[in-house]
């Protein structure tokens, strides 16, 4: 039974992926990509990666999809010109050959994976007690591989700075462009009033249980960002001017706390990002609480895009 479900799921994912490749209209391809992202979430559940499924649903399908759809509708005037640039049959055949070779090589690699599979689960389990958290993925993210997580938070911040840097000179320091002009009495405005309270509770819950069960700050932060996006699209919320000092402090607060705790570890525990004995869990919690608002804001501002309206 479950084999049949998995087979159908893999088939649907592939069909939707083919749709995003061959659809004539970029907008249609972007919409297909969102549905495909939601199905990938089910793939992650079947691969027993619930934490990854949450992040795929929120960021991979949700936020990336929203961004692609918004860009596709804005770039619609360029569609006709771009279609004329479609390469001829020889190029397409060569591309198909290259793609088939890549896929075949990967498929051979998948079938030749070593058995039994190497795993770090045992090492992780042996050392989980030292971190005080129950979710092994949170343990890996914030204790064993904390450096990755720190750099990830900074990469997201740098991406946002990169987006801001694309502002035209006249709009520098101003507000990002309006996301939408919605009917103030329409269904979107209604949903944007009803859904955010529910979404905020879900986001905080997913964040809160992240210490012991699947969930965590990235999942929570992306849901918070999505709730803001919903309100912004309905015209109920506006992005702040990017030159506002309080905004900038809130954006860097999370990474700064993370770096400060990491640097304190040099004196108290002998290494950067090491936690003193017995203090691991409270410190991990402090880092998570500091990162959640910063990440949510950063993701929301990435979605809002470059400043377009001059500061007044």
């Amino acid at each position: 039974m479950i084999e049949a479900f998995n087979g159908a799921l893999a088939l649907l994912v592939l069909v939707l992926a083919i749709w995003t490749v061959v659809a004539r209209d970029t907008f249609a391809a972007a919409v297909g990509f969102v549905a495909y992202g939601m199905l990938l979430t089910l793939v992650w559940v079947q691969l027993q990666g619930i934490d990854v499924a949450l992040i795929e649903g929120a960021i991979g399908g949700g936020l990336t999809g929203a961004m692609l759809i918004a860009a596709a509708s804005r770039l619609r005037p360029t569609e006709a010109a771009a279609r004329a640039e479609r390469p001829g049959l020889p190029t397409r055949l060569a591309a198909a050959l290259v793609a088939a070779c890549v896929a075949a090589a990967l498929a051979v690699a998948v079938l030749a994976l070593p058995d039994p599979a190497p795993t770090l689960a045992r090492e992780t389990a042996d050392n989980m007690a030292a971190t005080g958290v129950g979710n092994p993925i949170t343990g890996v993210l914030l204790a064993f591989r904390a450096m990755d997580t720190l750099l990830e938070a900074i990469v997201v911040l740098f991406a946002m700075i990169g987006v801001w840097a694309l502002a035209p000179d006249r709009a520098w320091g101003g507000r990002p462009g309006r996301l939408h002009r919605a009917d103030p009495d329409g269904i979107l405005a209604y949903l944007a009033r009803v859904l955010p309270p529910i979404g905020i509770v879900v986001a905080v819950y997913i964040f809160w249980i992240g210490a012991d069960l699947p969930g965590g700050k990235f999942q929570g932060a992306s849901i918070l960002a999505a709730m803001w996006l919903l309100a912004a699209m309905a015209g109920l919320a506006d992005a702040p001017p990017v030159s506002r000092t309080s905004l900038r402090v809130a954006l860097i607060a999370g990474p700064v706390v993370f770096i400060a705790i990491g640097a304190a570890g040099v004196w108290t525990a002998g290494a950067f990002l090491a936690y003193p004995d017995g203090l691991a869990k409270p410190l991990i919690k402090v880092i998570e609480w500091a990162l959640l608002p910063s990440l949510a804001l950063t993701l929301a501002l990435i979605l809002a895009g470059a400043p377009e309206r001059p500061a007044r």
Binding site: P77, A99, A107, V110, A121, I137, G139, E152, L166
Partner: protein
């Protein structure tokens, strides 16, 4: 259990292939960003299948690759967001969005903007 890992591993290989094809064939830059995401999804699912094969001690998968996947997905989102922002700025500046090698025509009186 191994079956799910192998099945979705092969599915991931096909996704990477599809993404590579789309990356070469589709002329629109936005479609190339989308294709880049499909390649990325394929790589992530393949990695997830490997993580699932490493299941032990009652966990459904090896937690180390699963944690790295969370990092990877967030970084892929950041990269796509930056690429889309660059593309939209290109469109605002030139009124066209193309990666063709001949330079885009000069903007005629701020084309595309009100």
């Amino acid at each position: 259990m191994t079956d799910a890992a192998t099945l979705f591993g092969l599915c991931a290989a096909a996704l990477v292939g599809l993404g590579v094809y789309a990356l070469i064939v589709n002329p629109q830059p936005l479609r190339k960003i989308l294709a880049f995401n499909v390649v990325g999804n394929g790589v992530f699912v393949l990695f997830g299948a490997v993580a699932h094969r490493g299941a032990a001690l009652g966990w459904g998968g090896d937690p180390v690759p699963q944690a790295l996947l969370i990092t990877g997905l967030v970084v892929a989102f950041s990269a796509s967001a930056l690429a889309i922002a660059v593309l939209l700025r290109l469109f605002d500046e030139t009124g066209s969005a193309t990666v063709a090698s001949d330079p885009p025509e000069k903007p005629d009186a701020d084309a595309g903007k009100a």
